[in-house]
């Protein structure tokens, strides 16, 4: 059997890029959500949580419509940034970020809310800017949540199927990630290849979760 490593590599590339983007926008967003007293907060929280309850195909379907060159949004993206998101790796990244958003935001938001308010107050009284407070006081004290949020988002991206299938299709080297490859190989009755991809995903997922629980137990001590 000749093994095609490409779907696995693509999967981890997608998960890594997605997680990196999520960390950059999700952590500040979680902080904002934890502190805002805005009237629309419940609506925003509900929106963030939608990917948890929606069938992935629903999200994928709407994203596909929005990304299509026929749609004003797709046209606008193409015109302004030269981005064509439907059936492309970039499109997968955008969809994955949206889809995995709650997996990072929820634990991090909860951790921010559990930090005593007085920590922020103390840092401000000591003359520290919001940025310094965020980097030196808040972030270091939510490390366990940050780690589990990151890993959950990563693992969830590795495991997603419906959204990818809807907006990415099955283009080798571009959108053919491991979960799609497994489905594809089974369709073609190529069980050995499917088994290979499945086993790698299974073992890696297990190892990642094991690491999270191990580190969290140490952090609690």
């Amino acid at each position: 059997m000749t093994v095609d490593w490409q779907p696995l590599l693509l999967t981890f590339k997608l998960a890594s890029v997605t997680t990196a983007i999520l960390l950059c926008i999700g952590v500040p967003f979680a902080w904002w959500l934890a502190n805002t007293r805005m009237r629309f907060k419940p609506a925003i929280e509900a929106l963030v949580s939608m990917p948890l309850v929606l069938p992935p195909s629903v999200l994928g379907f709407y994203l596909l419509l929005a990304f299509s060159p026929e749609h004003w949004f797709g046209q606008w993206l193409d015109r302004v940034a030269g981005l064509r998101l439907a059936f492309s790796f970039e499109g997968l990244v955008v969809a994955s970020v949206i889809f995995s958003f709650p997996f990072l935001v929820h634990p991090v938001q909860a951790a921010f809310q559990n930090l005593p308010r007085s920590l922020t107050d103390a840092a401000r009284v000591l003359g520290k800017s919001n940025w310094q407070t965020f980097m030196h006081v808040l972030l270091p004290n939510i490390k366990p949540a940050l780690l589990s949020g990151t890993v959950l988002a990563f693992a969830h991206t590795v495991g997603e199927f419906g959204v990818v299938l809807m907006i990415g299709g099955n283009l080798p080297n571009e959108t053919r990630v491991a979960s799609i490859a497994i489905y594809d190989e089974v369709e073609a009755l190529n069980y050995a290849a499917a088994n290979f991809y499945a086993a790698v995903l299974f073992c890696l997922s297990f190892l990642i979760l094991l690491l999270v629980y191990f580190v969290n137990r140490k952090a609690l001590k």
Binding site: D121, A122, A123, R124, V125, G127, K128, V137
Partner: protein, 291 residues
């Protein structure tokens, strides 16, 4: 010199009330804000620190305007140079004792001050420890040292001793007095402990329902008028027992238990838990030297 007027609506356990207080504090004074919980003491302190914005207010410290709601001036807490000790100490769990103090140091300041404070507060041996490994009294000392590390012009203490036992409290009272005199910092403490106020404050402001209802020296504010008794202590009644035609009162003064005799009509007006003032003539106490 501090002049402040603060006006804001507060939501207490007994409904809404108006915080309406003006302060006039001289340099180097040790002020106590005294009163039951929920009368706006902590909010007043937070307004001074800039952590809370009153609806109307004015704060001028040594000629510098920190707050003037009419002129839309409101200095951020970062710009006010205040030392603030929080009820829960608010030590940063991710930093060591020394780290907490260094974080508090203003830019370009000599790190010698940290060593000086660590020595002053007897924290030298604990400097590499994380806050979670410290006892309540140790945390309290670190919090105080951190509040002083930033060289504040004003020190605000929010019920800093409420979580400690009597012995530890007495020790820290001595410590805080020593440091306050050492640095000469104007200090405001929130407290609902008469003994603490007596010991620490040069002036007490008694608050009720958002207003300062009385102020003056602890003696003037707490004693019922002026009495010529020289021997006086405030304490808490622990027990009241009949004794022939008299009653015996067991009273906790500081951390000592004393018994005094009272008449029936006096005893019937008292209940365990009441705070009382024990007054005696200076002639009565007999003095025995302790080795």
């Amino acid at each position: 010199m501090i002049r402040a007027t603060i006006n804001m609506r507060l939501h207490g356990t007994n409904g809404e009330f108006q915080l309406d207080a003006s302060l006039n504090i001289a340099e180097g004074e040790f002020i106590a804000l005294f009163g039951p919980s929920g009368v706006g003491k902590t909010t007043l302190l937070r307004c001074l620190a800039g952590l809370e914005l009153p609806e109307q207010g004015n704060i001028v410290i040594s000629g510098e305007t920190w707050l003037d709601t009419a002129a839309r001036i409101n200095l951020a807490p970062q710009q006010r140079h205040i030392g603030y000790m929080f009820q829960d100490y608010a030590l940063f769990p991710n930093m060591t004792v020394r780290g907490n103090l260094e974080f508090a140091l203003r830019k370009d300041r000599n790190k010698k001050r940290i060593d000086e404070l660590l020595a002053l507060m007897d924290l030298g041996e604990l400097q590499q420890r994380k806050p979670e490994t410290l006892s309540g009294g140790q945390k309290q000392r670190v919090a105080l040292a951190r509040a002083l590390a930033s060289e504040p012009s004003l020190l605000l203490l929010d019920e800093p001793f409420s979580a400690l036992d009597a012995e530890m409290r007495t020790r820290l009272h001595d410590e805080i007095l020593r440091l306050q005199r050492h640095f000469g910092i104007t200090t405001i403490i929130v407290s609902h402990d008469v003994g603490e106020v007596y010991k620490l404050a040069s002036r007490v402001m008694m608050m009720e329902g958002g207003r300062i209802v009385r102020q003056g020296s602890p003696n003037d504010v707490f004693s019922v008028g002026q009495t010529s008794g020289k021997f006086r202590f405030s304490g808490e009644i622990l027990a009241i027992e009949p004794m022939d035609v008299l009653f015996s009162l067991t009273v906790l003064v500081g951390n000592q238990i004393v018994r005094v005799v009272a008449m029936k009509d006096e005893a019937s007006a008292l209940h365990p838990g009441d705070r009382v003032m024990l007054v005696s003539k200076a002639f009565n106490p007999m003095v025995l030297k302790l080795d």
